[in-house]
Symmetry: C2
DNA sequence: CTGAAAGCGCTAACAT
DNA sequence: ATGTTAGCGCTTTCAG
C-alpha cells in the first residue's frame, strides 16, 4: 500500500542516467569522452540530459576514486609582500589553464605554520606543493614528512630534494655590487635578511665574493641583518649612521629594505645618489614609484610561477622533471644609483 | 595452495584498525572524540596505532561523506593589486584558525573567468565563495547560478543577494572631497574607475554629492574613467592637462591612480601639493612611500577579510548572518594634500 | 556497445 | 562498548 521508501530524487550522475535512460557508467563514459565507443544516439541523449540538469561531476568523488586531485598548495611567507604577487599570479594563471586550483598559504617563515599547512594540504590530497621564497636553514620539520604521491617544487633555494625554479641569487647581488663599485662606491653597507634564510645565505655569498673580487675591505660593521621590511632597512641604516660607520653605497638584499635605507639616509641629511648610492634586489613595482626611483636587480617572478606549474605538470605526467630551472636576471638602473642620470 | 588475493597492505583507517585490533568505526570514533563512550583501553590502543602509522584522515573522503568541505574560494580581480593583500591575509589567517583552506582565484573582473571559477569551486564543493573588490553591473553570469549549499559573501558592493562586508564607498569619497575643498580646491579632477564597476558607481555618487553640497561646478570634463592603474591615472591626468582643463585638486578613486596623477602633474611642471592637491582612496602601503606621500582614505582591509570568514562561520553554523558589516574609515592626511605640512 | 558490481576512505544508522 | 552495513558520487574492471 505505502511506498517502502519515499524514493528521494536522484542526484548527480544518477539523475542524468535516469533521465537519459542509461546507466551511470554510460553517463560517465560519455561525459569524459575518450573511452570505448558509444552509439551516437545515446551519446546525444546523455549530453542533452546532462545539460538540462546542469550536471557537473563532483570533483571530490572523482578525486577519491582516481586517487588524485587537481589542486596544488602554494606556500609563501606573506602574500602581502610584493615579491610574491607576480609569482602567485603566474602560478595561478598557469594552474587555471591546466584546470588546477591553487590553495594559498601564508607561513610567515615559521616552521610550525609551514608544517601544519603541509599536513592540511596532504590531508586534502593536493597533487603538489610549491614552496616559494626560499627555505630556511633547519627544514627538519619537512625532511621527515611522508610525501607519498605529493609532488614538491621550490621557488628559490631549498633544503628539500626537489626540482626548483630560481635565479642565481649570489649572482644577482654580485651584479649589483659590481654596479655600485662602478659608481664609485668603496664602502658598501650590506642590508641582509635573517641568517637562517637560505636565500639570505646565497645573497650574502654574492656580496662577499664581489667585495673580495674588487679588493674592498670586508668590514663586519657594514653587514646588518633584518626581516626584509622597510622598517628594518630604515633602522639598520639609521643604526649604522648613528654609530658613525662610514659608507657610500648600500646593497640591500630586497627592495623594501632599500627603500627604508633611502629614508634613513635622507633623514640623516645625506643625498641619494649624490652621497650614497643605493641598489635593491627583486625589482618589485614600488621600486619605480618611490623617489629617487630605485635601481634593482630584476628577474621574471611571473615566469617563476608559470615554470613551477610546468614542472608540476611534468611530474604529474610521469616525466623526469627538470631538476633546476634557472632564469636570467639584469640590473634595472634608475636614479638611486646613477649620479649621471 | 595459492592465496586467492595477494592481500595488499591496508591503508588509511583500516590499517589503524587492524593494528589496534578493532573496527574502522572504532578508529573513527576515537579519533574524532565526541561520540559514544569508548573504553580507555581501546582508546589508547587506537591512539597508539594511529600515531605509529602517522595516520591522518583523508579529507576528501570525509568531505564526500559529510557533504561539505572546509574550503572556501576567494575571488579577487588581481592578487597583484595591493588593495587585496591585507584582505587576503585577513581571510586566510581567520580561515586557518578555523581549519579552513583558501583557494585563490584571479578574475581580472572578467565575467567569463569569474563564472568559470565559480563552477570549478562549486565542483570542488567549497563551503563558501568570497567575492572581493566589488561586483560589476551585469552579474547575470552569477545570479542564475545554482548555489545549492554554497555560502556567498561579498567584500564591497555586489548585485548578489548575500551578506556583505564593506565600507560606505560614497562616504569615503565625500570625506576626501571635503578635505580637498578645505585645502582650497574648487575644481577637482575626478579619476574614476570603469562605469560598470559597482564600487565606481558608489564612489562617483560620493564625488557628485560632495561637489554639489559645496556648490562647486560639476564639469563633465573633470571626470575621467580608468582601470585603477598607475598608468591610467597618469594618462588621464595628462590628457586633462593637455586639453587645458583647469583643476587645482585631484580626487582619485584609488591610490595607484592618484600616484599616476601626481606623476603627470609633476611632469607637467606643476607642484603637488602647492599647485594641485591630490587625494587617493584605500590607503595601500605604497601611498606612504611615494613622494610626496599620498593622502588617502583609510579603512581596515585586513579586518574585511577576517569579517568575511566570521560571516561564513555564522552561516555554516546555521545562524542568521549579519547582512551588512560596515566598517569605519578615516582620512590619512599626508603631504600630497597638505599645504601646511 | 552497454550495464552490473566493486570500491576509493570515510561516517552514521542500526544492531548487539 | 563495539561491530556490521550501507552509502556519499564517481570510475573501473568484468561480463555480457
Amino acid at each position: 500500500m505505502t511506498d517502502p521508501a519515499p524514493e528521494a530524487p536522484a542526484r548527480g550522475a544518477k539523475a542524468v542516467a535516469q533521465r537519459a535512460g542509461v546507466s551511470v557508467t554510460t553517463v560517465s563514459r560519455v561525459l569524459r569522452g575518450q573511452d570505448v565507443a558509444i552509439s551516437e544516439a545515446t551519446k546525444q541523449r546523455v549530453l542533452a540530459a546532462a545539460k538540462e540538469l546542469r550536471y557537473r561531476p563532483n570533483s571530490l568523488a572523482v578525486a577519491l576514486r582516481k586517487g588524485h586531485t587537481r589542486a596544488i598548495g602554494l606556500l609563501v611567507p606573506d602574500i602581502a609582500d610584493a615579491y610574491f604577487h607576480q609569482l602567485a599570479r603566474g602560478l595561478e594563471d598557469a594552474a587555471q589553464e591546466a584546470g588546477y586550483t591553487v590553495v594559498l598559504c601564508n607561513t610567515d617563515r615559521q616552521p610550525a605554520k609551514e608544517r601544519s599547512y603541509v599536513e592540511l594540504l596532504a590531508d586534502q590530497q593536493v597533487e603538489a606543493i610549491v614552496f616559494a621564497g626560499g627555505g630556511i636553514d633547519e627544514d627538519a620539520h619537512l625532511t621527515d614528512f611522508p610525501w607519498h604521491g605529493i609532488h614538491v617544487v621550490a621557488i628559490g633555494p631549498h633544503r628539500l630534494d626537489c626540482p626548483s625554479v630560481r635565479v642565481d641569487d649570489a649572482g644577482t647581488i654580485e651584479l649589483a655590487v659590481d654596479h655600485l663599485v662602478e659608481q664609485g662606491s668603496t664602502r658598501i653597507l650590506c642590508l641582509a635578511g635573517r641568517p637562517s634564510w637560505l636565500i639570505n645565505e646565497e645573497r650574502l655569498r654574492g656580496y662577499r665574493q664581489a667585495v673580495e673580487r674588487h679588493g674592498l675591505e670586508l668590514d663586519p660593521r657594514l653587514v646588518r641583518t633584518g626581516d626584509f621590511s622597510v622598517e628594518a632597512g630604515c633602522s639598520s641604516t639609521r643604526a649604522a649612521l648613528d654609530e658613525g660607520v662610514e659608507f657610500d653605497g648600500v646593497m640591500a638584499f630586497n627592495d623594501y629594505t632599500a627603500i627604508g635605507a633611502m629614508q634613513a639616509v635622507t633623514e640623516h641629511g645625506r643625498r641619494v645618489p649624490e652621497d650614497v648610492v643605493v641598489v635593491g634586489c627583486d625589482d618589485i613595482p614600488v621600486s619605480s614609484l618611490v623617489s629617487p626611483r630605485l635601481t634593482s636587480v630584476s628577474f621574471p617572478q611571473y615566469e617563476f610561477g608559470r615554470a613551477a606549474m610546468e614542472v608540476i605538470l611534468e611530474m604529474a605526467t610521469g616525466k623526469v622533471a627538470t631538476p633546476v630551472r634557472q632564469f636570467a636576471y639584469h640590473l634595472e638602473v634608475r636614479e638611486s644609483s646613477s649620479r649621471r642620470l
